[in-house]
């Protein structure tokens, strides 16, 4: 199969899953196998695309021309190939897990859930492979709208309120800030293509650069930069598979991916560091990293704690983009991969604890580690990866980010990263310590559900593998920064 | 100044009628009076157009056969017939508007039992309240 066809395959398969799911709505066994199958096929397609990119090709799917210089087309950049691999690969795990979770929890409306889940993955892949900024914007919005039914899945009053906040912030910021930013680029340069080294250099007055960057940084609400982070904790009312794949991987990573794409391919990090337009963003991202860590420590609800941890980790990536040099950009891109694999593991574990023991507070976990050893070990490994301890994948990205900060001679940023790592230790290892070292207060029944245990174990192993063999991500990321 | 007023007296009547008509439409609470005002307003426009078509010392635009009494038709000064034709159309439109308006007033009278605007507003307010409480 050629890489061009692989794009079509990878994009059509999730859509086909979304269409077929309601068709088999009355036969749950066939319906539920569609997701994992679709994940495998999409991952195969994403792999083909990534290998082609590694060979120096640019896989492309041209659909039609909107107007002169603006096409409705997909075109894979190295960074896009990375994100595509992450989204489709983790979809396999999440699809398996979600079957176990939704059935174990006896959730209603599973058909609707599975269909919109697949559409969200489709949108994430389309974002990854989009050929220009307009396409990226289009599927960014599609992702928002397709995840709304997932967020309000329970249809309780709380869920509806969270849904309004979710839509309000994400649609509001993207319409009011991101869209004018895209149009501004379009008017200033007459192009929205992703070009290595950027398209804006020389086309825009350098004094406007911070403003345009601000439009992007706050317009991309999905990257959950403070003060527009509130939607992410709110979205935690959704069932855990949604929090795991979408609010640790697809949606939030789509946000930071957009930021990285904009910095690398639209501004060009050389142009950005030359104008100094991103200095303010460095400090805002640093603030977000620390502030959300402090909040995370205070949260007793496991998912809320993980949500604030995600906000903090996302700002690592924004920080990497804002530092605007080669090492930091590499670190940021690699952090997309490393954080995705670790955070999805953590959410899988949280969901597994909820569905098998019906516990959702950190303080309730005392002594549970011996009852669910695999889950707690997976949680432990993933925590270590996020903290950045070798031999786990997260150490690479954190190392590169620190090197990038050193490159800019910003000691304060290095200190921020170090302090944040310490706080990670505090709030992420507390559940593990409670699980293994404190004794159980009241014994709870723990159901045995293999479908929710296997995926976190696999993704935890992935965290280790990514340390020793960050292939194909590292070569792809190297290609991203090559001029 | 006086000359100007006298020579343009027809236009001043037009403006006067126009203002009276518009004032009645806006200020009158009675729907039939509103329609009368509207008609007056439209009539003023008819007069305006017809005034435009009149040429001093012009005669009715009926073309005589030339050579009938020594005059060629080019020598006779005619008034402009086009505005008259236009206004014929506009009168028809005005009649239709008034007829439709009166028909509506009849129906309003039948269902609201009044053609006074404040009564109708009152009735509408009650309707809204009822639909809210139900």
């Amino acid at each position: 199969m050629t890489a061009d066809n692989a794009i079509i395959l990878g994009l059509v398969v999730p859509l086909a899953v979304a269409v077929l799911t309601p068709v088999f709505g009355s036969r749950p066994d066939i319906r539920d196998i569609l997701g994992p199958l679709g994940g495998i096929v999409s991952f195969y397609a994403a792999m083909t695309v990534a290998l082609a990119v590694l060979n120096g090709e640019t896989p492309e799917w041209f659909i039609l021309s909107i107007s002169e210089g603006l096409n409705f087309s997909f075109k894979v950049t190295p960074l896009g190939a990375v994100f595509g691999l992450v989204a489709s690969g983790l979809w396999i795990m999440a699809a398996i897990y979600s079957v176990g979770y939704m059935r174990g929890n006896n959730e209603a409306n599973q058909t609707r859930f599975n269909a919109f889940y697949a559409i969200a993955v489709h949108a994430a892949l389309a974002i990854a492979w989009s050929g220009n900024l307009l396409m990226l914007f289009i599927f960014y919005e599609v992702l928002t709208f397709s995840t709304y039914p997932l967020v309000i899945h329970k249809q309780t009053k709380d869920a509806m309120r969270a849904g309004r906040l979710y839509m309000g912030i994400l649609v509001g910021t993207s319409l009011m800030l991101l869209l004018p930013a895209v149009i501004w680029v379009w008017i200033a340069t007459g192009s929205l293509d992703f070009v290595p080294g950027g398209i804006l250099a020389g086309k825009i007055d350098p004094s406007y650069v911070p403003w345009m960057l601000a439009l992007f940084a706050f317009g991309v609400g999905k990257s959950a930069l403070m003060p527009i982070h509130r939607w992410l904790p709110a979205a935690m009312v959704a069932p855990t598979p949604v929090s795991a794949l979408l609010h640790a991987v697809a949606v939030v990573k789509a946000g930071v991916f957009t930021m990285l794409m904009v910095v690398v391919y639209i501004f060009g990090y050389d142009f950005l560091s030359l104008t100094g337009g991103s200095v303010w963003l460095i400090w805002l991202a640093s603030f977000t990293i620390l502030a959300s860590s402090v909040i995370a420590i205070q949260k007793d609800d496991i998912k809320a704690r993980l949500a604030y941890s995600t906000i903090s980790q996302l700002s690592y990536i924004v920080l990497g983009a804002a530092l605007a040099n080669e090492l930091a950009a590499k670190g940021a891109a690699l952090h997309i991969v490393m954080h995705a694999s670790a955070k999805i593991t953590l959410f899988f574990c949280a969901g597994a604890i909820y569905v098998s023991a019906h516990l959702n507070k950190v303080s309730q976990l005392n002594g549970l580690g011996y009852r669910m050893p695999l889950i707690f070990i997976a949680f432990f490994l993933a925590s270590l990866s996020i903290i950045g301890i070798p031999p786990l994948g997260g150490s690479w990205s954190k190392f590169l980010l620190m090197a990038g900060a050193a490159d800019n001679a910003m000691i304060m940023v290095i200190i921020v990263l170090a302090v944040s790592s310490l706080m990670n230790v505090w709030y992420l290892l507390e559940p593990v310590i409670r699980g293994f070292y404190l004794s159980e207060k009241t014994p709870v029944d723990v159901a045995k559900l293999p479908l929710v245990v296997i995926p976190p174990v696999l993704t935890a192993i992935l965290c280790i593998v990514l340390f020793f063999a960050p292939w194909p991500f590292l070569p792809l990321i190297n290609m991203m920064v090559m001029p | 100044m006086t000359d100007f007023l006298l020579s343009h007296w027809n236009y001043f009547i037009v403006v006067l009628l126009m203002m009276i008509g518009l004032f009645i439409v806006i200020s009158s609470m009675n729907l039939v009076k509103k329609l009368i005002g509207l008609s007056l307003f439209q009539t003023s426009v008819f007069l305006f157009y017809i005034s435009l078509g009149k040429i001093n010392d012009g005669t009715a635009p009926i073309i005589m056969k030339s050579g009938h009494d020594g005059h060629s038709s080019h020598d006779i000064l005619y008034s402009n017939p086009l505005p008259h034709v236009l206004i014929l159309t506009a009168i028809v439109v005005g009649v239709a508007t008034t007829a439709l308006g009166l028909a509506l007033v009849l129906r309003i009278k039948a269902s609201f039992n009044s053609i006074e605007e404040d009564d109708i507003l009152q009735a509408k307010r009650e309707l809204r309240k009822r639909s809210k409480s139900s």
């Binding site: 149009i183 | 439709l100 308006g101 609201f112 509408k124």
Partner: protein, 499 residues
């Protein structure tokens, strides 16, 4: 161009008018069939015309002399790209809402009245088409009144359900008549100064008028008259009650096409007739139309947010959407006028679809459109409600729908003309419009329903036109070339007069 095609401009307008008479004479049960045939033929003719115009270059103008009398004596029908785009929009939406018309009538109109009802329906359509087609300033007034009297009749038909429809219709009639009369006064001034009623003739003679004051007064009268008809803030007050109390079928027709024709007339007057005289039309566009459009956008959106009845909510939203179109015109650049024309076509598709869909949903609950009545209908009527949702998403400008194309072009035009603050207001209001649409989405899909959730019967004559429109919204949201191309040519044509 083949011989018979030269008659197309006349045919398009005459078919609905003649069918109106035929329908009025035929037995009532044939009324709807006649209306479908009439609007369908007109639509078909408009397609041929539009296809021809697509191939033609920008300054092409097909003109047709009624009765063979050439202007300035006779009445001329003229078609350029702007006309073709608006005609295509009006006939397409006219045809589709006629298709759903009979099903949407529900019990609003007595069976015996259907013949006359559809006669008035066709007169409305024919009047609006004539309005767009004619190149004669006075003839335009006649078409104004044909369409307006017929649509007042249609609005009044809503009295079977709610007697407030009569008052709405009466106010519509009076305000509309004042607007039309203002327009005629304006024409009178210009006629007095130029001695012609043909728009092109008038345009060529206006710059040479010795004393321009009467011309400016005429312009002011004409513009304010047309503003009433086009429901531009603050003279939009007739619109929400008329749309709200009219029968559902009528609302779907009027909301889609009625104001579009007047908006077209507005830009014609400003740019074709008065295109030749200095800066006055530009001043009006930038200092009158643009601020009013902004007010309309904000006010319409805010009123829609607080509205508790879906039909009125959409009517208020129409006021805001008209604001978007006028704003595009008001920018008065090539791109701005283009965006106005794009939104004329797209908004017709959006609102037409939404009202047809809302009608389909409301039929299941005895025609009530309160939010409380609509609760939970989304799941019970999936075909109708999903088509409705697609049009709704297009309304708020979600990517991959036609509404997004409109918004993209509008905001681009505003920003490239340098109006940053205005772009911010437009974007703010479009974000606010998400709120009112989302209230509807929550009501339809995610609200708890009390009774058993059974599938309700859905009318094919409602969901077929609805899905055609929803499909068009998606198709033209991706492959936008047809509308944007025609609109660009239209804009170039209009600027041909000014530069």
């Amino acid at each position: 161009m083949i011989e018979w095609m030269l008659h197309l401009p006349g045919i398009i307008v005459v078919i609905p008018l003649v069918m109106a008479i035929i329908v009025a004479l035929l037995p009532s049960r044939l009324g709807w069939l006649g209306a479908v045939i009439g609007s369908g033929l007109s639509f078909w003719a408009a397609i041929i015309l539009a296809l021809h115009m697509l191939e033609a270059n920008a300054m092409t103008r097909i003109s047709y002399f009624l009765g063979g009398w050439p202007p300035p004596w006779g009445i001329e029908f003229a078609v350029d790209h702007a006309t073709a785009l608006v005609i295509l929009t009006i006939t397409a939406l006219g045809f589709l809402s006629t298709m759903s018309g009979n099903a949407l009538i529900f019990k609003d109109i007595h069976d015996d009245d259907k013949g006359r009802f559809f006669a008035a329906w066709l007169l409305t359509l024919g009047g609006l088409l004539g309005l767009v087609m004619t190149a004669d300033a006075f003839n335009l007034f006649v078409f104004f009144e044909i369409s307006s009297l017929a649509s007042v009749t249609l609005v009044a038909m809503g009295s079977g359900r709610d007697k407030r429809a009569l008052v709405a219709a009466f106010n519509y009639l009076v305000i509309g008549a004042i607007g039309a009369t203002f327009y005629v006064i304006g024409v009178g001034f210009c006629y007095a100064m130029t001695g012609t009623l043909n728009m092109v003739d008038m345009a060529s003679r206006l710059p040479d008028v010795a004393n321009p004051i009467p011309v400016y007064i005429g312009l002011a009268f004409m513009v304010s008259g047309v503003m009433v008809k086009a429901a531009i803030f603050p003279v939009h007050i007739w619109l929400p009650p008329s749309y709200g109390f009219a029968p559902m079928a009528v609302t779907s027709l009027l909301a889609a096409i009625a104001t579009k024709a007047s908006l077209y007339v507005l830009i014609r007057i400003l740019m074709t007739i008065f295109g030749g005289i200095a800066d006055i039309p530009l001043l009006i566009m930038q200092w009158v139309l643009m601020p009013l459009a902004l007010m309309a956008i904000l006010l319409g959106t805010i009123l829609a947010i607080y509205e508790k009845d879906a039909k009125f909510m959409l009517a208020h939203s129409s006021v805001a959407q008209i604001g978007y179109i006028v704003l595009g015109f008001g920018v008065a650049t090539l791109a701005g006028v283009q965006s106005g024309f794009i939104h004329i076509a797209n908004h017709a598709m959006i609102k037409g679809g939404m009202f047809i869909g809302l009608g389909g949903l409301a039929m299941a609950v005895a025609g009530k459109t309160d939010f409380s009545n609509l609760a939970g209908l989304g799941r019970r009527m999936p075909l109708t409600s999903s088509g409705f949702l697609i049009c709704g998403l297009s309304l708020i400008g979600v990517p991959l729908t036609a509404g997004f194309i409109s918004k993209f072009y509008l905001v681009s035009a505003i920003i490239s003309a340098g109006y940053w603050q205005i772009a911010a207001i437009v974007l703010l209001s479009s974000a606010l419009s998400v709120i009112y649409l989302w209230r509807l989405v929550e009501t339809l899909w995610f609200s708890p329903v009390t009774d058993v959730e059974t599938r309700l019967p859905e009318q094919p004559m409602i969901y077929i036109p609805l899905w055609l429109l929803a499909g068009a919204n998606i198709w033209l949201g991706i492959d936008a070339g047809l509308i944007t191309g025609l609109a660009k040519m239209a804009s170039i044509t209009l600027f041909g007069g000014i530069s």
